[in-house]
Amino acid sequence: MAKTIEVTVWATGVVQDKEGRDVCLVLTEAANQEGKFTQAFDNYVDLPDRINVQVRKYARISDTEIENKFEYENHRPNIIGVTEATIMKGINVCKGLQEGGFLVINTTKDPEALLKYVPEKERKKLKAVATIDAIGIAPEQLIDYSGAEGAEDVSAIGAGLGSVMAGAIAAVSGIVKKESILAAAANRTAAKRGYDEVKIKVLK
């Protein structure tokens, strides 16, 4: 049976709302170009969007048609992206992680410095942890509510740190090729730098 790769991206509400969604959209758009079945959606389960609240964005990439298409939450993700490292201090971002999962964090620190915020149970399942200074490469682009909550998205997909994170996730996990990421992201330079400058620590 073909496996569906599930990606969960944690972001801060309103400020990085669009950026978190851009990570999922760039990844799924890139996978679409490779002929895969994809799905990208927001979290509708627990919280309304408020400034700096922890929000989740999801993506699914599969070789065959996605069976759990109408299940709007990734309970067993393979890849975790964190667009603001401070989120990890207050919540277990790796909850339900599958064996051999990846963790990609936006921070200036080294990967070892943030591993202490992952509980022992989830740390054993991590295959690699990576950090990327995404805000240093391309900061948040969201000034208004463009593209949020069903509104029309006038800014391009992947204009800010979303494309950097998507490039870093592609480099760490290899779910999509570099060329597809560069074709899908609006900010090609940022996506390329994210792919190249990510700091990876392989755990097993």
């Binding site: 700096n52 989120i87 207050g90």
Partner: protein, 129 residues
């Protein structure tokens, strides 16, 4: 004079006294709403410089979550970090600039660690191996 009006006064019990500015304190550690901890939202933590602080209590009035407290018998300003969202209003209203905003990752502790947000019992099995 005092003796004359004594029969009209009532001794209010300690738990019925009205707090400063009628502000109800934020819940204590894992108190009333353990699933609504907002400390995890905080990116910048407020840190008070007690030498500069003049105890004007502006920050107590400004805090939207009533997380600014008087500690040490009313002699110092403290914070209930379980519920402080790090909005920065206390820094903004402080007339003597005594409250700094320090990145939360510079500290070892101070944020309540949650396993999940709003985890309901029937959802827990979906996370299981």
């Amino acid at each position: 004079m005092k003796e004359r009006y004594k029969k009209y006064t009532v001794d209010i019990p300690e738990d019925m006294k009205i707090p400063y500015a009628c502000i109800v304190e934020s819940p204590k550690v894992n108190g009333e709403q353990p699933q609504m901890l907002t400390g995890g939202w905080r990116i910048y933590r407020p840190v008070v410089d007690h030498d500069k602080c003049v105890l004007c209590k502006s920050c107590i009035l400004a805090c939207p979550d009533a997380t600014v407290l008087l500690v040490d018998g009313g002699q110092k300003i403290g914070f209930n970090l379980d519920y402080c969202k790090g909005c920065g209003l206390c820094t903004w209203v402080c007339p003597v600039n005594a409250i700094d905003r320090v990145p939360e990752l510079d500290f070892e502790d101070g944020v309540p660690f949650q396993d999940a947000l709003f985890l309901l019992p029937h959802v827990e099995r979906l996370y299981a191996d």
